[in-house]
């Protein structure tokens, strides 16, 4: 009896405020709160509120048979509390239904796994604590920022005691294998849940593309594709940004109707059910070992880390923020930790990508900057100011 496992990523970064080389901030307030509030409100009204409402209705209507998972970054939870508590209420209501699992990730949706192991553990711990405090459940399954993963990260995550991890079902890694089964990181004894990128992107990217052969995508059509895998899958994992519903795909595209209709269409075939990631791991055993020798992610065509570390500026910027670690640790000041971690949010690096064609368009869609160079310049201006402040001896601060 195969299963469908849906997980939605919820995240909003802290975007930087206008900050030139000549500016200095005595309060190191580098973030544009007005702008972040404005974007949060917009996304909340277009996506979070209506989508939460639909999911609540579905969860009630199917009485436990429709089950989903969320990964909410720590920084998006902060923004919900500060900017729009009603959104958080919706997630809490969903949590109470018992049909929703919350996943673990780095609090700051950061690239810490790539630069600083100790810092990675700390951010994961912070996030786990926050989820437990808000939703009353300890997350058991991990997903790293944008599904960034390789064998080494698998070992780190296994060491933290997680039951499993969600990773991208990259074709080159899978080779002849199917993404629709559970595999295992053999060195770390860590079960791997693989994202089915084709079906996920059919909804997340292609849903409103009129040149796509699958257009228009109805819930019934999509369910029939899933049902065609009845005898050749244990679990199909659909993983996407929650903002797909109403923000990336506007409500005018019919995305909400799709969401509303899709559980019923899937459950029309009694062979299929919905499971959360933990339940998937309860039911299905790994069918084999799978090694990820290269760094993978769910971003861009190459499914690697080039979305954040693809060019010289991005590498320089990440090295610059990583280089502040020692100064921050020595400072012993909680406020510095917070600023430093907010500067690690992966989106800052995403905006600096200089890719062209389709990838470039996606990056540009998310970026608040006119160009990757502006993103780099503003980031480096902030880093410079923050570093100057950190370098001042404590006694004179």
């Amino acid at each position: 009896m195969p299963s469908l496992c849906c997980y939605f990523q919820v995240h909003q970064p802290y975007r930087l405020r206008r900050f030139t080389y000549f500016d200095s901030s005595s309060s190191f307030d580098y973030f544009d709160h007005e702008f972040n509030l404005e974007i949060f409100k917009k996304v909340a009204e277009k996506c979070y509120l209506p989508a939460n409402q639909i999911l609540l209705e579905l969860v009630e209507r199917f009485d436990g048979r429709f089950r989903i998972a969320f990964s909410l970054s720590g920084v998006v939870l902060e923004q919900m509390k500060a900017y729009y508590p009603e959104v958080l209420d919706g997630f809490i209501k969903l949590a109470r239904s018992g049909c929703v699992e919350f996943l673990s990730e780095t609090y700051h949706h950061s690239l810490a796994a790539l630069i600083d192991e100790r810092e990675f553990y700390e951010q994961v711990r912070m996030h786990g604590q926050t989820i437990t405090d808000i939703f009353g459940v300890q997350p058991r399954v991990f997903r790293n920022t944008e599904l960034i993963y390789d064998d080494q990260i698998g070992r780190m995550v296994a060491g933290l005691g997680y039951r499993g991890i969600i990773v991208e079902g990259c074709e080159d890694v899978l080779d002849w294998r199917s993404a629709n089964y559970i595999y295992r990181n053999s060195q770390a004894e860590l079960p791997l849940i693989l994202r089915n990128f084709r079906f996920s992107d059919d909804i997340a990217f292609r849903f409103s593309n009129q040149n796509w052969e699958g257009y228009p995508l109805s819930a019934g059509k999509f369910a029939s594709w899933i049902h065609s895998l009845t005898d050749s899958a244990d679990v199909v994992n659909l993983c996407m940004d929650y903002e797909t519903f109403g923000e990336h795909q506007w409500s005018g595209t019919g995305i909400f109707d799709f969401l509303r209709g899709f559980p019923d269409e899937i459950l029309q075939n009694p062979a299929w059910d919905f499971l959360t990631p933990s339940e998937v791991l309860d039911r299905y055993q790994p069918v084999g070992d799978l090694s990820f020798p290269r760094l993978t992610s769910w971003a861009d065509e190459k499914r690697d880390i080039s979305a954040w570390q693809g060019n010289r500026m991005q590498k320089r910027a990440l090295a610059a923020v990583a280089g502040l670690g020692a100064l921050v640790r020595n400072s012993g000041d909680k406020r510095f930790w917070e600023v430093w971690r907010k500067l690690q949010i992966s989106d800052h690096f995403y905006y600096m990508a200089t890719k062209s064609s389709a990838d470039g368009d996606v990056h540009a869609y998310f970026s608040p900057y006119g160009s990757p160079y502006d993103a780099f310049i503003r980031y480096m201006n902030v880093i410079k100011d923050f570093k100057e402040f950190l370098s001042v001896p404590f006694i004179t601060r």
Binding site: R312, M313, T354, S371, Y373, F376
Partner: protein
């Protein structure tokens, strides 16, 4: 095709643009006769007939070869064009009349003393060979408007009964000739706007030049603007209907990069380059005024201002007033290889233009792997994505961008590489294809819409 200058003898981007465009057009099979006021020698244009308006007039009857003026022919004849030159042209279309007068005065002096390096580094002796020079004023008036009028007269006399299908004129100096030619022949007229009097002089527009531009654009069947920016200017300033204006961006033929130039600097310095006429339109004062904000943060910076123009003396005074002479180098007017070298040794090319119809030199800088910082009030910013862009008045942003660009090698390297990649899309061939579309449209316009003034 009516032009005012052709490489290597150029005062700005016009000649370079004419070279690129005509090469592209020739590849598409368009046969061009390019008429300039005077050939200066050294023009290398095997892809078309390049005609000296004065010589064309004088030689027509004797030279059978020139009868069909539209033929594409090779210039590798035994008889070099250089030797046919009679009078050196002293024209720079972008000068104000008063600058022009100064130039003429200086030119005449040089002329009589047979000095070897002219104001624009034109090697007069080479051009003239062993021929005895005639005074410049003997054939051409000492006033730019007389020059333009003389050119119109010569052009009409030279080509009015030639076999051609369409008239294409570049910038205001050729408009009187173009209008006259259209009236006489009834052929469709396409005028190409490389820059407007508004771009050159801002509020200090010369009313006569403006009137010529206006008359030209009104008489034209279609107007080509080098950017959308210029299209909107033509529409706004000259009330030409939008449907009559076709934007065709300039392009570039990538040149080989001379990397070794960079290594030739003994002292490691960061070079910021301004290259262009030192006039209001180009915003050289912003280049100077931003320096004191940049220098404290980038102590090894050298600001190079290459070019001449009416604002130069004032800006030189201003630099010494600011006490920044150590950080400034005024390189004078550069041409040919000197330009290439300057572009390739620079770390950052800055185009602070107040109003720049296109800004071809930004593409040339990129071609030499030099990243560009350009004002948004330019045509080139419409086609180049990988450049630093700002509004010309935004000095805070200019300083911020400049300091960051100079301090971060990664930024410059990434931007230069991506921008150079972009040049692939900006070939002259693409511009030529669009131009041919404009030609086709002009030729298809119903005759009734084209006022005819046949004799």
């Amino acid at each position: 095709m009516l032009g005012w200058e052709y490489p290597p003898h150029i005062s700005g981007g016009l000649g370079t643009a004419c070279e690129g465009l005509t090469k592209g057009l020739a590849r598409l099979g368009v046969r061009i006769t390019f008429v300039v006021p005077q050939l200066m020698g050294g023009e290398d244009a095997p892809h078309m007939v390049i005609l000296d308006s004065y010589r064309g007039f004088g030689k027509r009857s004797s030279s059978k070869k020139k009868k069909r003026a539209v033929e594409v022919e090779e210039t590798s004849e035994e008889e070099s064009i250089i030797e046919k030159i009679k009078v050196p042209a002293a024209l720079s279309p972008y000068w104000r009349p008063e600058e022009y007068e100064r130039y003429i005065a200086r030119f005449s002096k040089l002329w009589s003393s047979k000095a070897e390096d002219g104001v624009e580094e034109i090697d007069l002796a080479k051009i003239l060979g062993k021929r005895k020079p005639k005074p410049a004023a003997a054939q051409y008036g000492s006033n730019i408007f007389e020059e333009v009028e003389q050119y119109a007269t010569n052009v009409v006399a030279a080509v009015h009964d030639s076999d051609f299908d369409l008239i294409h004129g570049h910038d205001w100096m050729t408009y009187p000739a173009a209008i006259a030619l259209k009236r006489i022949t009834g052929k469709p007229l396409v005028l190409h706007i490389h820059s407007l009097e508004y771009d050159r002089s801002g509020s200090g527009m010369n009313p006569r030049i403006r009137a010529i531009e206006e008359a030209g654009m009104q008489a034209a069947d279609l107007v080509i603007s080098v950017s959308h920016y210029t299209k909107s200017m033509v529409n706004w300033q000259y009330k030409i209907p939008l449907e009559k204006i076709c934007p065709v961006h300039n392009g570039i033929y990538p040149k080989k990069v001379t990397e070794h130039h960079r290594a030739s600097w003994a002292v490691p310095r960061k070079i910021v380059l301004f290259l262009g006429r030192v006039t209001y339109q180009k915003g050289p004062d912003f280049f100077v005024e931003v320096a004191p904000r940049v220098i404290p943060h980038v102590p090894n910076v050298l600001f190079v201002m290459a070019g001449t123009g009416d604002m130069l003396p004032r800006l030189m005074r201003r630099v010494s007033e600011l006490g920044l002479s150590r950080h400034f180098h005024f390189a004078g007017f550069l041409k040919g290889k000197q330009v290439d070298r300057m572009l390739s040794i620079s770390d950052l090319y800055v185009m602070p233009s107040v109003s720049e119809p296109f800004g071809l030199s930004a593409l040339e800088a990129i071609n030499f792997n030099t990243p560009a910082l350009i004002s948004r009030q330019s045509g080139v910013s419409e086609v180049v994505e990988h450049a630093l862009k700002y509004d010309f008045w935004d000095m805070d942003r200019l300083a911020d961008l400049m300091v960051n660009a100079l301090l971060h090698d990664e930024l410059r390297a990434e931007m230069a590489a991506c921008a150079r990649h972009e040049l692939g899309k900006l070939r002259w061939d693409a511009s030529a294809e669009k131009t041919v579309q404009v030609y086709k449209r002009a030729l298809q316009l119903p005759r009734s819409e084209r006022p005819e003034f046949r004799r």
